[in-house]
Amino acid sequence: MKETFYEVMRRQGITRRSFLKYCSLTAASLGMGPGQAMQIAQALETKERVPVIWLHGLECTCCTESFIRAGHPLAKDVILSMISLDYDDTIMAAAGHQAEEILKETREKYDGRYILAVEGNPPLADDGVYCIPGGEPFVDKLKYMAAGAKAIISWGSCASWGCVQAAKPNPTQATPVHKVIRDKPVIKVPGCPPIAEVMTGVITYIVAFDRLPELDRQGRPKMFYSQRIHDKCYRRPHFDAGQFVEQWDDENARKGYCLYKMGCKGPTTYNACSTVRWNEGVSFPIQSGHGCIGCSEDGFWDKGSFYDRLTNIQQFGAESNADKVGMAAAGVVGTAIAAHAAVSVIKRLSTTSSGSVPEKSDQA
């Protein structure tokens, strides 16, 4: 099982020649000369695997579940050959203090060299009592492990944004990782959960290129999060044509028309679902008939029903959307105008007939 990066690449059908080519490309992209390409090749052939510590806060473990679904590379190759997953309470063999010792040891032995992956988030209310693995508030453990980490990966919408437990009224004050750890690079890999190959893609990129991926304004890797579901949705021609599912399981649904009217959030959701797709490309939510619910977006739980095209405006209470507010306002204004016009007319008529001619109508 212990294989170097090189061996894994070999096993996946990559020849020594293309391996070396890969190394020289890597060297070139890092601005190094050809001499250093050999160094990289050597390093990848022999180097120690990067320790990864995977902590769980308040979450549902679906990020781990998604991760083990990875097909390329296989999750087992990532876990056993590309990185050293020294701590992940969902799969690790050790428990209790034998498990906790690994945290301490990693901080001492690999200070500044390990990656901290976080699934879920710390609740801050009431001194953190809503998540106390090991008898201590999770937030303390998170800060302790973050302090020695090279970089932090925020897995999923929980770690990235807060996700479901942070939905209103957020009873535990669940808080995304970057709001607690401010002095380390944080790579957000949102999604509820994120796509398996997106997760392994981010990890292997870091390991293979020995640098962090380019991030967008919100801290997400551009390679997977720079476009919306809608931008590459295969139902987009139906959107442009004006062909929509009008009701669940209607004729249009059976023909695979656009789900916009069923509340699809593809137009506002940045994720790789419509391109990478799920579970090795088998499908993705829209392909299986349900709209995107926006699961990789900040606060997607609190925008109103997943089935509404026009979503809620928090400021005006849970029941309102833009059209309801707008029509109400236009109705009030319209009525006021009509009334005002009526009074104006009556005034004008009555003042003229009463004979007390006002100045302004002198020349009317």
Partner: protein
């Protein structure tokens, strides 16, 4: 001090206190504290959920059609079962009928979860309690091959295959970077497998890790992704269009074929790898019959997998329904989730507040109000807990009770009830296993029994998958391809004030959601979850929960290395995010 609980356990907390926190290879955060006597036998057990997310509060005021998505995020491991429970609860409240095809698709989704979850549990969460990875280095690949071929026709079993694997394992261990296998209990005296069996198990650990990815593709086809596929109140979100215009945008022949082929492989893997491994491993451990706990006295299941749509009566459910109390297998009680006297939750020992904590609340009247406090006998502080005080509040799990009884739920409970009801689908495989291992029926009430029942259920579910996929095809062939009923989709068509309950048999046991819908919004939502039953803390009468009961009287080889505790607790497949939600 020694006391006897109403459910018949002698608790003695005078011995040495041992803490296991975190309990790993589970979902979520669990803490176990036990007291061991001078012979290192467990005499007192305390199970504590150490997380709470507040989903029941978050659901209030929401659109009931959205609830499935929220509740599904209670857990990503038993992904889908909460969503199914939720749409059933909402449909029950609003009187929505679903099409026959939607029922088949939902059953397929649920059975896929059973197969996946059980397989992953056995190999990736539980196996390392029985399998010593490091001992596999000492195995003879040829003997391993013989062992493998003697129990199954599975093709990956040549000496070369095992030699290659062993070689890679050796390099891995020698690298000094043990990753997830670091600091574990290798060499612990409780491990009983010969090196060859260990090597075979390691091979299947890796094969199962690869194969589980395939199983979930059924969810991907009908629900768009896994984990967390999509669901719909009123049916299933995927349309069926076998051969019409635009069929490629729906469930079509190619999709159906993909599902069918995955189902065949599920049956194959379960029967040629999982069950043979289970029996082989069990045969080395059949002397270790600890961990029975409540299984020999109080078990319950709600039933699931409706044959026909919209009928949730026991007769229409393929998984058994009922409750057994006080060990009387001759009588299976009917379970009524609407009856205010049956399912009730207590919080005397939970970190919640009720107006009157001496009484339990039926979930329709359920209250969730957090209230964290450590008891007077607790050691340490809120920010650094050393020991909990089980005399006071000590867990984020509520304590659900059925007519006042602490109950065990899960595959073993389902099989015991099916067995007691004389249902051959459950009785015959159980008897076959008992015969194969040459153990009495009482051996069922144990850690091993729980693990075995899960394997049998995985096999049962794989076959039922095939059944419902064929049923779906037949119904489409007969001209019905409807998957959703939208008559009551619009909230304006709903009654003003209604209550509903939905239930499933989740991989870990009986699950139900109770919903109160008022003015088209959720007024109250309460989930009572399998691990809430099993991991429950004490109730006001002093009954201990199923986890706690199962640990009682177990001897430990070395309390410092809590392998026995892990083994028994893992046999329930705990899910703490589920249990506290």
């Amino acid at each position: 001090m020694s006391v006897t609980t109403p459910n018949g356990f002698n608790l003695d907390d005078s011995g040495r206190r041992v803490v296991v926190d975190p309990v790993t290879r589970i979902e979520g955060h669990l803490r176990i504290e036990v007291n061991v006597d001078n012979d290192n036998v467990i005499r007192n057990a305390v199970s504590t959920g150490t997380m709470w997310r507040g989903l029941e509060l978050i659901l209030r005021g929401r659109d009931p059609r959205d609830a499935w998505a929220f509740t599904q995020r209670i857990c990503g491991v038993c992904t889908g079962t909460h969503a199914l429970t939720s749409v059933r609860a909402v449909e029950d409240a609003l009187g929505i009928q679903i099409p026959e095809n939607a029922n088949s698709i939902r059953n397929i989704m649920q059975l896929t979860l059973q197969v996946h979850d059980h397989l992953v549990h056995f190999y990736h969460l539980h196996a390392l309690d029985w399998v010593d990875v490091v001992s596999a280095l000492k195995a003879d690949p040829k003997a391993t091959s013989e062992l493998a071929q003697s129990i199954s026709n599975w093709p990956l079993s040549s000496p070369g295959y095992f030699r290659d694997l062993q070689g890679r394992l050796k390099k891995f261990v020698e690298s000094g970077q043990l990753g997830p296998f670091k600091n574990a209990y290798w060499g612990h005296p409780a491990y009983k497998l010969p090196p060859e069996a260990n090597l075979m198990a390691v091979a299947h650990y890796l094969e199962a890790l690869d194969f589980q990815r395939e199983i979930v593709k059924i969810h991907t086809i009908y629900g768009g992704k896994n984990p967390h596929p999509n669901w719909l109140v009123g049916g299933a979100p995927c349309s069926i269009n076998l051969d019409g215009t635009g069929a490629v945008g729906a469930v079509n022949m190619e999709r159906m074929n993909l599902v069918s082929s995955i189902i065949d492989r599920c049956i194959e893997f379960t029967e040629q790898v999982y069950i043979p491994d289970l029996l082989a491993i069990a045969s080395f451990y059949k002397g270790w019959l600890h961990g029975g706990g409540l299984s020999s006295t109080n078990v319950m299941s709600y039933g699931d997998i409706p044959e026909h749509a919209n009928d949730y009566s026991a007769g229409n459910l393929l998984l058994p329904r009922g409750a057994i109390i006080n060990g009387n297998l001759a009588e299976v009680h009917e379970v009524d989730l609407r009856d205010a006297e049956q399912v009730q939750e207590y919080v005397t020992h939970s970190w919640y507040k009720y107006a009157d904590e001496s009484r339990g609340l039926h979930p329709w009247d359920g209250v969730t109000e957090p209230n964290f406090e450590l008891g007077p006998k607790a050691k340490g502080s809120k920010k650094h807990i050393e020991n909990l005080d089980e005399g006071a509040k000590y867990s984020w799990l509520k304590a659900p009770r059925w007519r006042g009884h602490a109950m065990e739920v899960g595959p073993l409970s389902r099989y015991i009830i099916g067995y007691a009801q004389g249902n051959p689908e459950f009785k015959e495989p159980v008897e076959a296993v008992l015969r194969h291992l040459d153990v009495p029926v009482t051996a069922l009430f144990s850690t091993l029994g729980r693990t075995a029942a899960r394997g049998l259920e995985c096999q049962w579910a794989a076959h039922k998958l095939k059944y419902f996929q064929q049923k779906l095809m037949a119904n489409v062939k007969a001209g019905d391809s409807s998957t959703a009923n939208t008559e009551k989709w619009e909230p304006s068509s709903w009654p003003r004030d209604v209550k509903g309950v939905g239930f499933t048999e989740a991989p870990r046991g009986a699950l139900a959601h109770w919903v109160h819908i008022k003015d088209t919004k959720i007024a109250n939502y309460q989930c009572v979850v399998p691990t809430t039953w099993n991991g429950s803390p004490r109730d006001p009468a002093g009954n201990i929960g199923a986890f706690e009961a199962s640990l009682m009287d177990t001897p430990m080889a070395d309390p410092h290395q809590p392998l026995e505790i892990l083994r028994t607790i893992h046999s329930f497949d705990p899910c703490l995010a589920c249990s506290t939600h």
